[in-house]
């Protein structure tokens, strides 16, 4: 019934790639990454409940280079999804949808989430 050659909207390839499109897909990407990260959150809680030895084993895995990169990526995903989520909530009230406003808030969200990630790791004991 459907013709697979038919172009699908949105016609992403006909646009010059703007920053707002980067943030749009990053919101989805960071959300999906954190969904997988929930497994690690659960592992943290389970190992805390299991006792000191299991907790040490868990933190040892997290202290490896791979573990560290994962946690840094996760913290950025959290701050980005939080900041951009608030941007979406503001949009839902009908404000900030003009092209210039959306571009400005995109850069603000991107820089704010990077700054928050750095501040978090500086403050983390």
């Amino acid at each position: 019934m459907s013709n697979s050659d038919r172009p699908l909207s949105p016609h992403l390839s006909v646009y010059r790639w703007p920053i707002t499109m980067t943030l749009s897909i990053l919101h989805r990407g960071t959300g999906l990454a954190m969904s997988i990260g929930l497994l690690v959150m659960a592992a943290w809680l389970i190992n805390t409940a299991a006792g000191g030895a299991d907790y040490e084993r868990f933190t040892a895995v997290m202290a490896t280079l791979f573990g560290r990169l994962f946690l840094i990526g996760w913290s950025f995903a959290f701050f980005f999804h939080l900041a951009n989520g608030i941007r979406h909530l503001v949009w839902d009230t009908g404000y900030g949808l003009e092209k210039q406003q959306a571009t400005a808030s995109a850069w603000f969200v991107l820089i704010a989430s990077l700054v928050l990630t750095v501040v978090f790791w500086v403050l983390l004991p």
Binding site: R28, G31, L32, M34, S35, L38, L39, M41, A42, L45, I46, T48, A49, G51, G52, Y55, E56, T59, F78, L82, G85, I86, H88, L89, D92, F120, L123, L124, P125
Partner: protein, 126 residues
Amino acid sequence: MSLRAPLGKVLGLGTARDGTDHWWMQRVSAVGLALLGLWFVGSLVSLDDLQYANAHAFIAAPLNSVLMLLLCATLAYHSYLGVQVVVEDYVHAPGIKVVALIASRFAHIVVAAASIYAILRIGLGA
């Protein structure tokens, strides 16, 4: 006057009466997660260290236990709503789509149940 097509009437297909429910609950859980998430991050950075004794004592404190339960439940719920949209947007084969949606729901419920059980064990000192 009805604008519905005769075929649609006969088949009984139409609105399921929950058109905005998914959208709305995604927003409500997002607001909850913004508050709970900031609390969790703020709590992490204000701990003296992240060793076992400290992490255990933090989660075991009654208020923290309740907030951790809310955080994990809301995370799983919001995550499920998000993954559902991603699957519906990108997985077009009907069979795989249904399997993916069910698998995602099961996985989220398992993760939520395991997290909640762990928090209760810590909080109740089992």
